[in-house]
């Protein structure tokens, strides 16, 4: 954002709200996102919060934030660094000021910058002091948000002081809305819906919203206001969606298509719980959403449902996924269509539970005893979670195999505009349950897919027993025959390989005729796309592929890889996909991996690409 040039019209802007967990940061961000959507911009959001429920007021570790990038063009990431930072207290400033773009705008709630709070945040002196140089690179706007909020509500005698204070985020929202010339109606609508039954709260919030907006109009706090013209999005009806909703809706859509009820069993864990919550509230779609005693019960309950003939689904994050491994191997052995969502979070053990990472790919592929194969998929964006859910159901039921979806904490919480899908475009799928007892053998396989028959337990004449012991191919009788075990191990691998015939070829994104190909998956694709645009602007070229299918790989992957001078793998881990690509295709890749708990920044990726391009030139 070229603030220093005082432009009225901008192509893209990143705004960040930050404050105490109790300051209503997430609501403020969400509402600003909504107005942005309605203004027709493309956008992408990044809610980021501490793992404490309500960390003590004013501490740096208690800071919650919400970043949003919006633009008059397609956008792929929530932005690296904010152009505008709105801080509700010194701690929020302390944590975030380092990231604000030079020349960027910082709006602070002046009222909070008192001795006690400054100390808590670790400031030696008051950065708002005229003589203080801490913020000299920014355009700082001090607004006494608290005072103004109380002022605006002065005459609401029956409305408590604490309640009044709780409205101050809407004053800030009014200010920012003015700055970007956003209409207030969508926010008013939201307030009406949320507080319709509590008139004083509705009244108070609406008032301070307008107060913030009007104040800017009158007082010329900002020398200028900005306009980000609508993006040229594909025509259609849009809504704002995050990954949790998209995942759930995708499952419902698939279940409706395949005409099966859902049994989703989960044990709460950040960030996976969101999907369990969503589905628990959508029981009318034939969903049994069950909170179990632990993750082992969750995966096995889902497996029991798959065995019975329903869509058995479970979801968790790192520590919980680890607990499901033994049962997943039972699903691989019994060849049942179990779907496992892994909403990856940051770090080993408890790590950084509210932060994101792509650390579980190697575990998804190899993290089970013995040679155990399943399908692995990864959505690239919040809205792609919808389609990945559908694909997971389609493949699991068609190939009678577990599917693991590697989703991410970041995608679950992030939101973006989503063009409502035409439900008729959802791929056909059918659960063709066996009913004919004639020549039925539990492990007899479909010639193409190698899938065994799915049987609705209870069907007359198909009584049989399955289990975790090795069994003879076709008959399914238990057996310790050496060659049979070798055969079955290879068949189980082959079955997953066959899925290659059933998935689309990769498309090269970015500049097809570049020398450098970036390979990535999941949320990194957003950063890669954004970086590719930056690179293109500088007259250079980079191509991109997105591995939504991580096991098996699409058929044309090898051909694509081999058609570039250099291949570089990008992911939020220390090199898991990279290892597989190197070993499988013997291609000496470059690698960019970061584990900071956050999406990879476009700046960092652009640097990396430039560096790779320079190296290519040298050779």
């Amino acid at each position: 954002m070229a603030v220093e040039k005082q432009l009225e019209e901008l192509e893209m802007v990143t705004v960040k709200f930050a404050g105490d967990s109790g300051d209503g940061i997430q609501i403020t961000g969400d509402q600003f996102g909504n107005t942005t959507a309605i203004a027709g911009n493309d956008f992408s959001t990044f809610p980021d919060f501490p793992s404490e429920i309500r960390a003590p007021l004013g501490t740096t570790y208690g800071v919650s934030s919400y970043q949003i990038q919006f633009a008059s063009k397609d956008i792929y990431t929530p932005g690296d660094t904010p152009d505008v930072l709105v801080c509700f207290n010194p701690a929020a400033l302390k944590v975030n000021m380092g990231t604000v773009n030079k020349g960027g705008i910082i709006v602070v709630n002046e009222d909070e910058f008192v001795e006690k709070n400054l100390k808590k945040a670790g400031f030696e002196s008051n950065p708002l002091d005229p003589n203080d140089t801490t913020l000299q690179d920014f355009r700082v706007h001090k607004i006494p948000i608290t005072t103004l909020t109380l002022k605006a509500l002065e005459d609401m005698k029956d409305f408590g002081h604490a309640d009044k204070l709780r409205c101050k985020n809407f004053l800030a929202l009014g200010v920012v809305s003015w700055l970007f010339q956003r209409p207030l109606e969508p926010i008013e609508k939201f307030l009406k819906k949320k507080f319709g039954k509590k008139p004083p709260i509705l009244e108070a919030n609406t008032r301070v919203l307008h107060a913030g907006y009007n104040m800017c109009d009158t007082m010329e706090i900002f020398p200028i206001m900005y306009k980000i013209p609508p993006a040229k999005l594909e025509p259609g009806t849009y809504r704002n969606i995050n990954g949790a909703l998209a995942t759930s809706y995708g499952l419902l859509a698939a279940a409706e298509k395949i005409e099966l009820p859902i049994v989703y069993a989960g044990y709460p864990i950040t960030p996976a719980s969101e999907v369990l919550h969503t589905l628990a509230a959508l029981k009318q779609f034939d969903v049994a959403a069950i909170q179990t005693e632990d993750e082992i019960a969750a995966v096995t309950m889902a497996l029991g449902a798959s065995y019975g003939g329903s869509l058995g689904i479970t979801g968790s994050s790192g520590p919980g996924i680890a607990l499901k491994i033994e049962a997943i191997n039972l699903a691989v052995m019994t060849e049942l269509p179990l779907i496992i969502f892994n909403f990856m979070r940051s770090g080993i053990s408890t790590g950084m539970p509210t932060k994101t990472e792509q650390g579980d790919l190697a575990m998804a592929l190899f993290g089970r005893p013995s040679d155990s194969h399943l399908i692995v998929l990864a959505p690239e964006s919040a809205s792609d979670c919808f389609w990945i859910s559908i694909e997971a159901v389609r493949l699991a039921t068609k190939y009678m195999t577990p599917v693991m979806v590697l989703s991410e904490g970041f995608l679950i919480n992030a939101s973006e505009p989503w063009k409502l899908p035409d439900l008729d475009t959802i791929p056909e799928m059918k659960a063709s349950f066996r009913t004919d007892p004639k020549d039925y053998l539990p492990y007899k396989r479909n010639k193409d897919t190698l899938a065994r028959d799915w049987v609705r337990i209870g069907t007359k004449g198909l009584e049989h027993t399955i289990g975790g012991l090795e069994k003879i191919n076709e008959t399914g009788e238990i057996s310790q025959d050496p060659e049979n075990h070798d055969l079955m191990t290879r068949i189980r691998a082959e079955k997953v390989e066959r899925v290659q015939n059933d998935i689309p070829d990769l498309e090269v994104l970015g500049d097809k005729d570049a020398d450098l190909l970036l390979v990535g998956w999941g949320s990194s694709i957003g950063s890669m796309r954004a970086s590719a645009e930056v690179i293109a602007k500088s007259g250079k070229k980079v191509a991109i592929i997105n591995l939504r299918y991580l096991n098996p790989f699409p058929k044309n992957l090898e051909e694509i890889l081999r058609s570039y001078k250099k291949v570089a793998v990008v992911e939020l881990n220390l090199g898991q996909l990279n290892m597989i690509i190197r070993s499988k295709f013997m291609i000496d890749t470059s690698f960019l991996g970061r584990v900071t708990g956050q999406p990879i920044s476009v700046v960092e990726m652009v640097d990396f690409i430039n560096n790779e391009l320079d190296l290519l030139k040298e050779h």
Binding site: R239, F285, L469
Partner: protein, 337 residues
């Protein structure tokens, strides 16, 4: 549930698989297998309407020998699998076969929560007070001091009591029976099946190889009548070789009285399987001071988990029409032209 007409249609053999059982000769698992098949014949539903889910252990090989549907799962987890199956297929008769290791050691937590939930399934816990399949380690029900492979100096843990645990966890049906009581076992199994909700049947099962004679103290024919008491709803709590003993209520505690068989005193308690304090007292009786109770110890009506789930789904449907198109376009939407 079955009609009487159907009830007479089946024989125990109709519930046999073609596989030959692979337990050790002398193992009481054979007797239980036979009893389950006999019970199923009495129940009168065809083999395809039953599914037997087991964990891992000697006992858990059970499904292979049944002509019903079967799932031999993983160690300690048959209960959540069975629950998932029951939710998916509510019409199915779902049976769980588990061992004292499978069900009380590694699977103890699932047992506790399954009993709280009360899905309509029938749990058979084969208690041989030993790990059979892994060749003779102690189990949570092994007596303190027992010498075995992992405790060559004797176990140092107090044994768990599966029946007491089930009652504590709120099980709506709890029975306890020895595999040596063939007829009673069949009866208990039929009752367990008939109960709507989770039925827990604790079966004393002799492991001939690693723990032979574990229950002789109260199941051996010559002394068993003095060391067992058959509990039955609305029947007096009388036992003894000559039916000459009974249980009466002392000051907050059960007491044994002796009498002439023909003169059962009025003070002898008439059993009530729905009276929770009495149920507790019966199950808390310590052997050999008191006899070991056999039969249905607790039975109360209680809504089932599977019903509750489906009721919530149905009631949600009446409140909100399941319209996917509408759901997806809920919230704020906008048009791009």
């Amino acid at each position: 549930m079955s009609t009487t007409a159907e009830t007479i249609k089946y024989k125990a053999n109709d519930f046999k698989s073609t596989a030959e059982p692979r337990w050790c000769p002398g193992c009481e698992d054979y007797a239980i297998l036979k009893a389950v098949q006999t019970a199923m014949a009495q129940i009168g539903r065809p083999s395809n309407e039953h599914a037997v889910v087991s964990g891992i252990g000697c006992s858990s090989r059970f499904p292979y020998y049944m002509g019903t549907y079967g799932f031999h799962t993983i160690h300690g987890r048959p209960l959540p699998i069975a629950t998932g199956l029951k939710i998916s297929n509510p019409e199915l008769a779902v049976w769980v076969v588990t061992g004292d290791g499978d069900g009380i050691s590694i699977g103890g937590n699932h047992l506790m929560h399954a009993l709280r939930r009360n899905a309509d399934i029938t749990i058979l816990l084969f208690d041989n007070r030993i790990y059979g399949l892994t060749k003779g380690q102690y189990s949570p029900t092994s007596e303190k001091g027992k010498i075995n492979k992992t405790a060559p100096y004797g176990t140092i843990e107090e044994p768990a009591d599966p029946t007491g645990l089930a009652i504590e966890c709120g099980a709506s049906f709890v029975a306890q029976i020895s595999a040596t009581y063939v007829k009673e076992l069949v009866n208990v199994l039929v009752e367990a099946y008939n109960h709507k909700g989770t039925s827990f049947v604790h079966i004393y099962q002799n492991c001939y190889i690693y723990n032979n004679g574990a229950f002789d103290g109260f199941t051996e024919r010559s002394i068993r009548d003095d060391n067992n008491i058959k509990v039955e709803h609305q029947k007096p709590l009388v036992f003894g070789e000559k039916n000459n003993k009974g249980l009466v209520m002392g000051y907050g505690k059960l007491e044994i009285v002796e009498f002439e068989p023909e003169n059962v005193p009025d003070s002898v308690i008439i059993y009530d399987e729905t009276d929770l304090s009495l149920v507790r007292m019966i199950s808390d009786m310590k052997f050999p001071e008191f006899p070991v109770p056999m039969g249905v110890i607790k039975r109360v009506k209680s809504p089932t988990f599977d019903d509750a789930i489906h009721e919530q789904i149905e009631s949600a449907k009446t409140k909100f029409k399941p319209d996917l198109e509408k759901l997806i376009s809920s919230g704020d939407t906008w048009e791009v032209k």
